[in-house]
């Protein structure tokens, strides 16, 4: 597979507040994520997981506080690290083919040879034979692979996944867990929001639980992975 051409990157959240009107989606969230950690973010719907991920990806501006990316030594990165973001929406164009989408985003990211990279990625995610099909025709599982290919275009050192297992059949979950294991093992920093235990959550090296916008549990502080993932949920 491709060798990592990125430098390990940590993420620092300092006193992050996010308000929507009068409502606090996030309250004074402070977290330090080490380079290479694979962090599972758990919490009920509305606990602030998606907001935290979007703020980290710089898609949403926090109302207060700041997010910074840190290099290996713990000081702030000089260059803005490459970030990959995968959510439920594919974030690619339905009316273009798989290849056209990746070439477009590749060009936008400034890749030297977007077409070659697109080819490689499509093979990697198992969409090689559908490269000239319109994304409109893809199934949910294929769409997710498309989204992952797009996120991996520019060799990101940090990856954000927002509920990646949604809508996937067991085979899809299997495939994703496999990819995730590889991404984790090559040293990328991963932050993913999850519901409950699964093949995917088993790959986490750390877990954090959010409730009503605040961090209420963290494996770094001694809680167990299982307790964080299954907190308050009926068995």
């Amino acid at each position: 597979m491709t060798s990592p051409e990125f430098s390990p990157t940590g993420i620092s959240f300092e006193k992050i507040d996010k308000r929507f009107g009068g409502l606090f989606a996030l309250r004074r969230v402070s977290l330090a994520i080490q380079p290479g950690q694979c962090v599972a973010l758990a919490g009920r719907n509305g606990s602030g997981k998606t907001t935290l991920l979007r703020i980290a990806a710089r898609l949403v501006r926090p109302s207060a506080g700041q997010v910074s990316f840190l290099d290996k030594s713990g000081s702030e990165s000089q260059a803005r690290p490459v970030v990959g973001y995968v959510a439920h929406a594919t974030m690619v164009y339905d009316e273009l083919t798989a290849e056209e989408n990746l070439v477009l985003f590749g060009k936008l990211e400034g890749l030297k040879d977007p077409r070659a990279r697109a080819s490689v990625l499509l093979e990697e995610v198992g969409l090689g034979d559908r490269r000239t099909s319109l994304v409109r025709t893809f199934s949910r599982g294929m769409r997710q692979r498309m989204a992952i290919a797009r996120a991996l275009l520019n060799e990101p050192s940090v990856l954000f996944f927002d509920e990646p297992a949604t809508g996937l059949d067991p085979q899809g979950v299997n495939w994703f867990a496999d990819r995730l294991r590889h991404l984790r093992d090559t040293g990328r920093t991963i932050l993913m929001s999850l519901h409950g235990e699964s093949e995917i959550s088993a790959l986490a090296t750390r877990a954090i639980r959010l409730d009503a916008g605040s961090v209420i549990a963290d494996t770094s502080a001694g809680a167990t992975l299982r307790s964080i993932l299954t907190f308050g949920e009926a068995r």
Binding site: A87, K107, L108
Partner: protein, 224 residues
């Protein structure tokens, strides 16, 4: 990586998408045609009246058509949240706007050029003799419409009643375009054609002012 290549890449994508479906162009063209036909019932389309009212009605038709055509501009980026992937990929959000307003200007111009001969026939007005100047005013006018319309469609895409909101926001803002374009066009289609450079000046200033405004404030229009 930088503005130029990013804008071109995105412009290419906008054009490619439209080229494949042609929905925007055909619907806009048909709309303008309908408006031109309906307008003909509101006055006596003899030659002298046509020259007086024709240009204004033509520009009015373009304005109405554009306020409809510009709706999907940012709305379609919501379907798969492609706006987020664009924002993540490009370093300067202005390139997103440049690409879209460039595409919209081209679409508008294309439709206008197709409608021009039809207008000429329906209203018995000679457009060919002054075609070079007409192209200039069509370009500057369409550019102004696209710049403001593209910016405002980013707003209307996130509001309620968006189909009505965009025209309500856009049309008063475009008053200078309507006035200046009409005056220039009237001058060009007069029995003794003349070029109203003052109007061109107004159009150019409008375009410059709003392009600068979009450059300064564009990223806030795309904020979540």
């Amino acid at each position: 990586m930088s503005i130029g290549p990013n804008t071109l890449a995105l412009l290419g994508k906008e054009l490619q998408t439209e080229f494949r479906s042609r929905e925007l162009l055909t619907t806009t063209g048909v709309f303008i045609l309908m408006v031109l036909v309906l307008f003909s019932f509101t006055f006596d389309p003899t030659s002298s009246e046509s020259r007086r009212f024709g240009p204004g009605l033509l520009w009015l038709a373009f304005l109405f058509a554009s306020s409809l055509m510009l709706q999907p501009c940012f709305l379609r980026e919501q379907t798969n949240d492609t706006l987020s992937s664009l924002r993540l990929a490009v370093s300067d959000p202005f390139s997103i706007f440049l690409a879209k307003l460039g595409a919209n200007t081209l679409f508008l111009l294309f439709t206008e050029l197709v409608m021009l001969p039809i207008f000429s026939v329906l209203y018995s007005v000679h457009v060919l003799p002054q075609i070079h100047y007409l192209l200039l005013v069509l370009f500057l006018g369409s550019l102004g419409i696209s710049i403001t319309g593209t910016a405002l469609s980013a707003i209307s895409a996130q509001a309620r009643m968006r189909e009505l909101l965009l025209p309500v926001l856009l049309l008063p803002l475009l008053t200078p375009i309507l006035v200046a374009s009409t005056e220039v066009t009237v001058g060009l289609l007069a029995p003794e054609p003349f070029m109203e450079w003052k109007g061109i000046g107004v159009l150019a200033i409008f375009d410059l002012v709003f392009l600068t405004a979009v450059w300064l404030f564009g990223e806030y229009l795309l904020e979540e």
